[in-house]
């Protein structure tokens, strides 16, 4: 039962409440990703799990037992600290092996794990360096290595790969997944990298301002955002959220409008609300230089090179819309027609900013049907 359960957990520093009434469960052997804007309380959550931060109120359960007062050493947790916390007086090798040696693990086994992790994080050749003789990314890898060799039941990682290059990040991530498959630890992982989140996570927890926004699978978080915050936070560039007026199947943006397909129209009508916000991801917009039926006209403001894609910033009746395009052939000021892909649009309640849900049987381009309930907490 290597699960972690937060029950009405709060954390207050002085008079700032940095974690507010948190309720969720990390399942046994799960890879849970913590996502959220900088300062939203992610590190604090990890530190509470590790027992490094007192819990102001509420209960934290690990293995089914209340651990609010269990000293951190007794929780069987390993952690990669955001600021590494390497022992400055120990070499890379000593840093990594220290805990194992103390735990009196067999020498051969220690060497084995050390070799493995050294390879995995491409640290060979640096064994005898002191932390201050390493580059930033190398230090981060040592911190990761040190936590990895431990094989504790709970594995907490606080932005463990943030200072690594893309290649290394990918390979480290894969190795972590392999290790996880072997040992089945319960992993809680903080990252700002959404690719990392989606490739790594069983489920994602989305935090904002100390409050939980959504907890669900990567697919659902992406395709079925629980609220405006989630929709805008996940994906880059963020989901376009437009102020619209809804009128019987017609979505009006300023003076223009386009029509929903039947299935959406029925669904929205049936919810009975018409104070709505409209959401569409940049990658779910089709751009066309010529007039399109299911679109609205706008003017290209500027174009951003994103490597293999271009972000096109478009002004539509005073609202900014970003669309992704494979082509660079747009010129500033040019008229362009913005066509949202009907299967990928979202509606939110204007007041609560909650997702109003999706019609049954909405067929996705990729052929998968997502759960259509509105999820927030689990």
């Amino acid at each position: 039962m290597k699960e972690i359960k937060f029950e009405n957990v709060r954390k207050v520093y002085g008079d700032t409440e940095v974690v507010k009434d948190l309720n969720f469960t990390v399942r046994e052997g799960e890879r849970l990703i913590l996502l959220g804007p900088s300062g939203c309380g992610k590190s604090t959550i990890l530190r509470m799990i590790a027992g490094l931060e007192e819990i102001t109120s509420g209960n934290l359960y690990m293995n089914g037992q209340r651990v609010n007062d269990t000293p951190s050493g007794k929780r069987n947790v390993s952690m990669v600290f955001q600021n590494y916390a390497l022992y400055p007086h120990m070499t890379v090798k000593q840093n990594i092996m220290y805990a194992l040696k103390v735990k009196k693990i067999e020498k051969k086994e220690i060497e084995r794990r050390f070799d493995f992790v050294l390879e995995m994080l491409q640290l060979r050749g640096y064994e005898n360096r002191l932390p201050k003789q390493l580059s930033g990314g190398q230090r981060q890898r040592v911190a990761l290595a040190r936590a990895t060799v431990n094989r504790s039941d709970f594995f907490l990682l606080d932005e463990p790969l943030s200072n690594l290059d893309a290649q290394l990040r990918v390979s480290a991530r894969k190795e972590l997944m392999k290790i996880h498959e072997m040992f089945g630890q319960t992993i809680v992982y903080v990252t700002h990298d959404q690719i990392e989140a989606t490739t790594f996570a069983d489920r994602i927890v989305l935090m904002y301002n100390g409050e939980l926004q959504m907890i669900d699978t990567p697919d659902n978080v992406y395709h079925r955002p629980a609220n405006v915050f989630t929709a805008k936070f996940i994906g880059s560039p963020p989901t376009n959220i437009l102020n619209i007026e809804y009128d019987h199947g017609a979505v009006r943006i300023g003076s223009q409008s386009f029509l929903l397909n039947e299935i959406w129209k029925d669904y929205v009508n049936q919810t009975g609300t018409n104070k709505l916000l409209f959401g569409i991801r940049p990658e779910h917009i089709e751009l066309s230089p010529v007039s399109a039926q299911k679109g609205v006209r706008g003017q290209v403001k500027y174009i951003e090179n994103q490597g293999n894609n271009y972000g096109v910033y478009i002004n539509v009746e005073g609202q900014e819309i970003i669309a992704m395009s494979e082509s660079k052939n747009w010129t500033d000021g040019q008229d362009v027609y913005v066509c949202p892909v009907m299967e990928k649009i979202h509606f939110f309640d204007k007041d609560t900013e909650r997702n109003i849900g999706y019609p049954q049987g909405l067929e996705m381009k990729d052929g998968i049907t997502y759960s259509n309930e509105r999820k927030v907490n689990v």
Partner: protein, 274 residues
């Protein structure tokens, strides 16, 4: 980091002068220990003796069991230093990493003792040592000197500068306090330990007010007492022999310092906590 050369040269000059002022007396003392006394009186300006002689040292070795005395001093200084370091380290650790009732009061009380003049404790301590049957005994010299809060103070300051996350990592791995002390805290407060240790060693090495009370027989003397034997207001101080004792008194710590200088200065410069 690069600095204006001219400024640098001015500083070099200042340091050279300061060092001359600080070192010349030492050299003078050494020189004097090799002069006949009348030479010392009459050729005051000669730093290096003209008629160098070992007479003063011979007198010294003839009149006092100087090896024995040096050994006593060494034992007193070493034992006291080690004990003080251990107790201070443990206490500092408790003050930094634990919280318990009355902690601040206790700390305040202990640190307050730094300001207690030794005159206040001298007589009662003498009674205690006497009752413990430790007169004329190294332990009688050592024990009361162990009550010195300076170590607790500096080591605590230094511990407070260790990033807490380092201790957290260790706690997370379920390290015992003993381990954390030995493997993490100790290496990181090494500069503080070294400097307090040197301080302790030098001050017990040179302590004389207290040993004068406790030690009676020449065989048990420490070096500062030996020095007193050549100082007399009424008969006149034998300055040259006194300087010979002084040279012997400083030679051991000096040798220790020079042989560990690399380590000591290294300790200070490679703490690398941050």
């Amino acid at each position: 980091m690069k600095i204006n050369r001219r400024v640098e040269n001015v500083w070099h000059l200042i340091f050279i002068i300061t060092i001359l002022i600080m070192i010349l007396p030492v050299i003078y003392a050494i020189g004097m220990s090799f002069k006949p006394l009348h030479d010392a009186y009459n050729n005051v300006l000669n730093i290096i003796p003209i008629h160098a002689t070992l007479e003063n040292y011979i007198t010294l070795f003839d009149t006092l069991p100087i090896f024995r005395i040096t050994w006593n001093t060494f034992i007193v200084a070493t034992v006291a230093t080690i004990f003080k370091l251990i107790t201070a380290f443990l206490a500092a650790y408790a003050f930094v990493y634990f919280s318990f009732k009355g902690k601040e009061i206790l700390y305040f009380l202990l640190i307050g003792t730094i300001f207690i003049p030794f005159t206040v404790t001298m007589i009662p301590n003498y009674l205690i040592i006497s009752n413990l049957g430790m007169l004329d005994n190294v332990w009688g010299v050592i024990l009361p000197q162990l009550a010195d809060a300076v170590g607790i103070f500096l080591i605590r300051q230094s511990m407070k500068n260790i990033p807490l996350s380092l201790i957290e990592v260790a706690r997370l791995d379920n390290m015992s306090h003993g381990r954390i002390m030995k493997d993490i805290v100790l290496p990181l407060v090494r500069p503080a330990i070294t400097s307090v240790g040197i301080w302790f060693f030098i001050s017990t090495w040179n302590e004389f007010v207290w040993p004068v009370l406790i030690l009676k027989t020449t065989e048990n003397f420490t070096l500062p007492l030996a020095l007193q034997m050549f100082i007399s207001s009424e008969g006149g101080t034998n300055f040259t022999v006194a300087m010979a004792v002084s040279v012997i008194t400083m030679i051991i710590p000096l040798i220790l310092y020079l042989s560990f200088q690399k380590y000591i200065i290294g300790t200070f410069t490679s703490s690398g906590i941050k």
